[in-house]
Symmetry: C2
Subunit: 487 residues, 2 copies
């Protein structure tokens, strides 16, 4: 256990975040610049996210097929990365490059994958011959390297873990269906129902889209400091890569056609989002559905009552472990720490529920329950143990989402001119909806003057009235879009 | 589906192996030298292996604790890799080295991890302070790069996937217990009961041990060409790395002591072992417990019976899918292929059981069952469908192990002189037990003259009689050990 004392978020939000990551033992700084070590507690959180997403990805698809996992090489030869012009321009500058192997200088440098479009689509061109080979629906869980200069644990690290889906289709219609199914039915549903984080969804502006995509779709969440965080993206790649890599198929009429492609991904950044969306000054707060430990039991006793209380605590533990899984329930029977110290320890680690049991509870056949998001001490009969715990896990899951939703709403505002937008962004942050003409130039102007960017063009974006003016150039506005400062 | 026609193993064992890997679509050559793409069917096999091993690793431990997963960086700074002398000597020459990042030459080159002792133990030194922090029992699932010159799909590739366990203990006794528990209770049990491959176990000779270890323990299996394959290793690292990285703890009496460490791993090489241990000239043969598809249903009909037969086949599929899982049972209702073609296709892919159903079977309320390891067509009443399939999955699992065990025994022999050993190794291969004095020099002599190496010093190695002579030097033998040509 590390020294405790989380910097209050009102005092220094960045320090508060880092304190939680380090003190809750989610991750640590590695002895390589910009890299992190994901510690067991943080990795268990990633496994909870990964397992549920993997299940969801494998159980859906299009064209009568399901997604399947595969694994492609870490290294991408320079010549391959260069095949799609926009893509290499976007990614090559932030790559790590291997120039020596087995003690010899390589003839061709190898790029450590910053994303896997190029290495995968080279294989797609080999595997896809006929319409019968489509759709091809692949997903990969892998490590990714991007040479970031300013890094922050989980949010932006030189190496991170992610999943990347890559699909090929016979028609643009099917590709688009895939792309939006992943964004809405997989990512958005998971983020809202498991991570308890409400999001805005829509497409990225031209200036913010993925290098090589026709359209990038995105989910945008709001952190407690009022800054936006991109949670996941799904790209309609059109036929850009298909042309670059010659990915073609013979259709039912015998014609050679280029495939339509998508790619999509979410990463360990989601852990950063969970921390920043829900936690407080006592430490981490985890949504019950993804919490590695869902409930901790703290026995409370003086030395002469120890045996009796521990025995009762073990009974509660057995019942809960049977219902929720062995690793999901912890009985903290350590003798060297006092109950109050243990309360603080497990609050710091974000465990959703705490069960306390002492001699008087045993006499009354009851237990005390405390939710991580509410300090009230509630008493329940022991006979209702598992139902009570289950009920409050669900109740807390919903309460976290509702609280985050209220926060999002309270930080959503609008502005009709760039000056007002700048003031709101500086004072309260959040999403500020404002009219925009749609040009990259105006997006840049707003960013230079206010540090806010267009987070997305929402699917349900309001059509502005004809006399509505772009806040940057004053010409007619095309959309009303949410601007925000972002991570 | 690729062109079929597996080279007979008697004709060219290496071509037979590669044909199976490529044609069963387990893996493909990547557009990077020495690397492979693990295709969905091969990756599903890896997931079956990984899921079961992960469950086993997490559910055991020593000192009252269980193993936990974590994740450490891909890149190791040169200075860190150099801290343990033997280790750097063993691994540095086969590393891939990153010298550029973000467009700039790096001040210190980064090695792509060939194994993670150094980067992990630097963190262990930070995390471990007191005896209360011990034992530390970590495991990592990761990709590894070793610059191999002669590569072969799954068996030896430039990049591969593995798990690596790394633990630290207060005593050598506990570390040794951990090291052998992993070898025997986790690896050996898994390899024999899930992969159906019998193994010899013991410790490696001085010349073959892991760079930096005090003792390396190993499992050695025999492939159908008579060559041995190392299946997994578990290393007693003693205090070598603890001294190099300063991993110390304060014991209960307040004294600073160095920890005792272990590391252990198995890799995607296990897939190569499964292929080479069980498959035949029709293609892959998979042990039922790790087969991604356990049963395929082939409907057999003429055009006017199609509807009736497909309806019956769907009923069988529902019942089996409910019992064994949706993805474990496939109904091959493709119209464009004849039943015979489908039989060959699913045999090539190693699916353990085939269920056939045609009009006459429907009338007789029966189905036909064919096991991948036995061409007999067996008939059973449909009312006994799930029990029959379950019974034959278990029976085939046991039969594969027994067959492999008989093969191992039939290829186990002994020799009293180097000439006889060389003749046996050349003619029938297998494990040839011979007396050895224990010196590295004599092991090298035998390897130069016969290409065979000491696979292990078995735990149950026979004490030779005092007049038994080493086959290389003629001095008194220390052990009778199995020599073999190995992958």
């Amino acid at each position: 256990m590390s020294d405790r004392g989380v910097t209050p978020m009102e005092q220094d939000y960045a320090a508060w975040y880092t304190d939680i990551v380090l003190q809750a033992e989610l991750a640590d700084y590695a002895p390589v610049r910009g890299c992190m070590v994901i510690r067991p507690y943080g990795y268990a959180l990633w496994e909870a996210i990964k397992d549920e997403l993997d299940r969801r990805i494998k159980s859906c698809g299009v064209g009568g097929r399901y997604h399947q996992n595969a694994y492609f090489p870490l290294f991408i030869p320079q010549s391959l990365l260069q095949k799609e012009a926009e893509h290499v321009e976007g990614f090559a500058p932030e790559c790590a490059v291997v120039t020596y192997g087995g003690g010899k200088k390589l003839e061709e440098p190898l790029y450590v994958r910053p994303t896997s479009e190029t290495i995968m689509y080279k294989m797609f061109a080999k595997w896809i011959q006929s319409w019968r080979d489509l759709p091809l629906l692949l997903n990969q869980w892998a490590n990714i390297v991007r040479w970031e200069l300013r890094t922050r644990l989980f949010l932006r690290t030189l190496e991170f873990l992610w999943q990347e889906g890559h699909t090929a289709h016979a028609t643009h219609e099917e590709a688009l269906k895939e792309c939006l199914m992943i964004l809405n039915d997989v990512y958005k549903d998971f983020v809202e129902n498991h991570l308890a984080i409400p999001v805005l969804s829509g497409r990225k502006s031209e200036g913010q889209k993925f290098a090589g995509a026709v359209t990038t779709y995105t989910l945008e969440a709001l952190m407690q400091d009022g800054r936006a965080l991109q949670m996941g993206t799904s790209h309609d790649l059109g036929q850009n890569f298909a042309h670059a890599f010659g990915v073609r198929f013979q259709d039912k009429d015998g014609n050679l056609r280029y495939v339509w492609q998508t790619s999509w991904g979410v990463s360990t950044r989601l852990i950063g989002a969970v921390i920043m969306a829900h936690s407080d000054n006592k430490g981490l707060v985890l949504p019950p559905r993804i919490a590695p430990v869902k409930c901790v039991i703290i026995p409370i006793y003086k030395s002469d009552e120890k045996e009796k209380v521990l025995s009762a605590a073990h009974k509660l533990h057995s019942a809960l472990a049977e219902r929720f899984g062995q690793s999901a329930v912890v009985l903290d029977d350590r003798d060297q720490f006092k109950p109050g110290w243990k309360f603080a320890e497990w609050e710091l680690r974000g465990v959703p529920l705490r069960v306390e049991i002492g001699p008087r509870d045993i006499e009354a056949s009851q237990f005390v329950l405390v939710r991580r998001d509410d300090p009230s001490k509630l008493k329940f009969p022991q006979s209702a143990l598992t139902q009570t715990v289950e009920h409050h896990l669900n109740a807390m899951q919903n309460a976290l989402y509702e609280r985050a939703k209220r926060f999002l709403n309270s930080k959503t505002s609008s502005a009709d001119d760039i000056h007002t937008l700048g003031e709101i962004v500086d004072s309260q942050g959040g999403f500020v909806f404002a009219p925009w003409c749609g040009s990259v130039q105006c997006e840049n102007t707003v960013q230079e003057q206010t540090k806010a960017t267009v987070r997305c063009i929402p699917f349900d974006a309001k059509e502005p009235s004809p006399d509505t003016k772009c806040i940057a150039c004053g010409k007619p506005a095309k959309w009303i879009v949410p601007f925000a400062k972002a991570y």
